[in-house]
């Protein structure tokens, strides 16, 4: 085992050996704030998190829908041309 592999293995083992609570301290402020349930900030942060979390799904879904409709419309408009375009050199060998 090379020195580089030994070092990376040691770092990995150290990370895995750390207690879970230590890793959870990355968001200490949020954790402390959200612990109190009476604060209106809790609901605000939760709403904000849900909003931000939903955006990638919304964007990917919209782009996927747009791409699907565009490709479908293109196939309907020019089926012959589309079939031609997928022909590549290797198909006829």
């Amino acid at each position: 085992m090379s020195l580089r592999h030994a070092a990376s293995s040691a770092v990995t083992a150290l990370i895995l050996a750390l207690p879970e609570q230590v890793l959870a301290q990355g968001c200490a402020m949020c954790r402390t704030t959200l612990a109190g349930s009476d604060d209106p900030l809790v609901g605000a942060i939760n709403t904000s998190v849900i909003f931000l979390m939903s955006m990638p799904y919304l964007i990917v879904g919209s782009i996927g829908g747009w791409a699907y409709m565009t490709v479908r419309r293109h196939h309907a408009a020019s089926p012959a041309e589309t079939h031609e375009s997928v022909e590549v050199e290797g198909d006829h060998t």
């Binding site: 209106p40 605000a44 942060i45 964007i59 293109h74 589309t82 375009s85 050199e89």
Partner: protein, 210 residues
């Protein structure tokens, strides 16, 4: 052995539209330029979403919004300004329609109307900002001022860049550069314009009406 079919996709052509290039290359349902624009708009959407998420944290956790000692935002003027921006989106649609029908006159009129309406929107926003600053609402006036100027200012920069882009396109149209089915730059600008109009709808509701 059949020859390999090479289908060149549309290049961006943002500032140099003199190279003849159709909107979509033959055989490809979506041109590379349009796909790149969609990806760019997705990135922009996430950027605005992050700003809106930060705004929501402060807005929904505040007991009084706006704070009692700070001026209210001008709702009526902004409603009118919203209609101006929507009208600019319609003008852009007319321009794209003119482009597709090869109607040079409609294209020029549509682009000019969109540009003028976008400029009016910016001018009204600017005058309202000056008024609000005079009434004591600045970027450093707590979270209310900071979130307002960040969100609306960020959108204003987007409208400004869209207007500048439109000006460049109008110069190209005047020089008759968009003949031979070269329509990618105008359609990309239209996509960006629609995005700016759509984002304003969300921002107007959240910042002014919520």
């Amino acid at each position: 052995m059949a020859p390999r079919r090479v289908t060149p996709s549309g290049s961006l052509l943002l500032l140099s539209p003199q190279i003849p290039m159709p909107a979509t290359a033959p055989g490809l349902p979506i041109s590379n330029a349009r796909l790149a624009m969609v990806i760019f708009l997705a990135f922009e959407t996430m950027l605005f979403a992050a700003c809106i998420a930060a705004f929501l944290v402060f807005r929904l956790s505040a007991t009084a919004w706006p704070p009692a000692d700070l001026p209210r935002l001008p709702i009526t003027v902004t409603w009118l300004n919203t209609f101006v921006l929507i009208a600019s989106g319609y003008a852009m649609t007319r321009a794209v329609g003119g482009l597709r029908r090869a109607d040079q006159r409609q294209l020029e009129r549509g682009l000019m109307a969109a540009g003028i309406l976008g400029s009016i929107f910016l001018a009204v926003q600017g005058s309202e900002w000056i008024r609000l600053v005079r009434h004591g609402l600045t970027l450093s006036t707590g979270m209310y001022g900071a979130t307002f100027y960040t969100l609306i200012g960020f959108h204003g920069v987007h409208v400004l860049s869209a207007v500048l882009w439109l000006l460049l396109l109008m110069v190209g149209v005047q020089r008759d550069r968009f003949r031979n089915r070269v329509r990618v730059p105008i359609e990309l600008c239209a996509m960006y314009w629609y995005f700016v109009v759509a984002v304003w709808g969300a921002l107007f509701y959240l910042v002014y009406l919520l």
